[in-house]
Subunit: 300 residues, 2 copies
């Protein structure tokens, strides 16, 4: 049931990305091919799925029939996926994580060279904002969504800030405050913004947004803890990316600090907390709750 | 007179940048120091100045006293400068132009390393959109400005597209269509968006925007032609960056195709065309006309 839901969500996100990314034949073709290489590399589309489902829940809470997606919300999801992919392309570069493999395929710079990879990442970020500026929701909601997403991917307590601290923490003794900053900023911030922006698209009020934000922060942190655990317990083949990289780089991770069992318990507790936050939405919240459980039970 | 105007514009842009960029002491400090290193490196703030002056002209045309800047417009200018600076940081990287010197100072990757330079460029792009989403103009104007600027810095016929074609054109026989694409996309597109977004901020109508767009395209192309000529005729010391780089890289430039004299004539004709476009605005357009002349007469 959830598997089918995830598959449908992935297809909706892929269709929106197909429509919103310039075609591979668009001049200059090298960069558009590079952008598509990395975007269409078999991602789970977790952020678009969370965004769409948050929008569906908020729409249901205000009387829309359950099961109806707010029209055009998949475009928010596509923009979120473009931003996520840009961060992966840049993180994989030789000057950063120096990864050759991503989701079982050559990374962008391996396939297209470093210059085009840097520019393809830049181009995905730019394209995301061009899409967000033209969403089908009212301009007030569009600027709120852009502000939310830009902040979540920014340098202070967003995605870029998390990546900076992650880089600077390599080969240093783990420290809980640093670890939490990295997890909250590098991964949880964009996951939170995915849920919050989906709600905003569907007309969420301030109270809804506060609930969605807490839900997002909890599942985002749980997601990253599970990611760190999988890096230790799964093979490269299972993950579709190089396993054991965190340990090799002496990265600060949850399992490095607390061990695998305690880390798993922490992730479970965060998911419980996320689900409690949505109690007030009744049945309309059941899919977001199932998604939260799925995040900690996944194997890659 | 124009010199004093340029100085005041630069100061207004600098003050807005100072306020809108995270302080150097903000955690994680390395990236905020890197962003500020490149933003506060003595730029002329040409894009903010054009943006503010276009806004002032449109405000004057709708009855505002000439000389009054629309309140808060310097924030649009600051965002434009952040985007311009991000493109310089990434263009200077070893995988792209591999430049050690920019405005007479070490480039971002020379001062902070490649990883932080890549992320500082990313962070400036992100910060620009966070600023634009919160401008003091109505949400309708904000989304129009974001769409305009994102497209102008994008991969199809914007800044990134121009950079891709520029890279791919090195060591190839010059070709006029390629050259014009590079100039229009890499430089003129953001200069055009600067003028257009300033007009939008001040409430320009569709006819105003069409005039500003043509003015911007003409001065943008003239600016790049003059830049190419200066690369050949000035020393590194005069320019504050490595001179003769285009010729060394066998880059396709206007002077390489047409010679210095014919290129200079072409730039002058474009400036005339830009000024003609603003005839209908009378005295209110005199500063934009002076700025157009300044662009072709400058020495760096």
């Amino acid at each position: 049931m959830l598997k089918q839901f995830l598959e449908q969500g992935r297809e909706a996100a892929d269709a929106a990305l197909e429509q919103l990314l310039p075609p591979s034949t668009q001049h200059p073709t090298s960069i558009h091919q590079a952008m598509r290489h990395s975007v269409f590399a078999g991602g789970k589309r977790l952020r678009p799925i969370l965004c769409m489902e948050a929008g569906r829940m908020i729409a249901a809470a205000s009387g829309s029939p359950t099961g109806t997606l707010p029209a055009g919300i998949e475009q928010v999801g596509a923009a979120l996926e473009m931003l996520h992919t840009y961060s992966l392309i840049h993180d994989d570069l030789p000057a950063l994580d120096n990864d050759d493999l991503r989701r079982g395929r050559p990374t962008c710079h391996k396939a297209f060279g470093e210059a085009i990879a840097i520019l393809a990442g830049d181009g995905l970020q730019t394209q995301a904002y061009e899409v967000l500026a033209q969403l089908a929701c009212p301009p007030e909601a569009r600027v709120a969504i852009i502000r939310e997403i830009a902040h979540a991917t920014g340098t202070i307590d967003g995605m870029i800030g998390g990546q900076v601290v992650d880089l600077e923490a390599e080969h240093k003794k783990p420290d809980l405050a640093t670890l939490e900053y990295i997890h909250r900023s590098k991964t949880a911030a964009l996951i939170t913004a995915s849920v919050v922006s989906g709600g905003m698209y569907a007309g969420a009020n301030a109270k809804d947004i506060a609930h969605l934000r807490t839900y997002g922060q909890s599942i985002g942190l749980a997601f990253q803890i599970v990611d760190d655990v999988l890096d230790l317990t799964q093979t490269s083949e299972q993950l579709g990316k190089t396993a054991g990289k965190d340990a090799a780089a002496e990265k600060t991770t949850y399992p490095a600090l607390f061990g695998i069992e305690e880390s798993t318990r922490k992730a479970d507790a965060l998911v419980d907390q996320a689900c409690t936050e949505l109690e007030g939405y009744g049945d309309a919240a059941s899919t977001l709750k199932n998604l939260a459980r799925y995040l900690v039970e996944r194997k890659k």
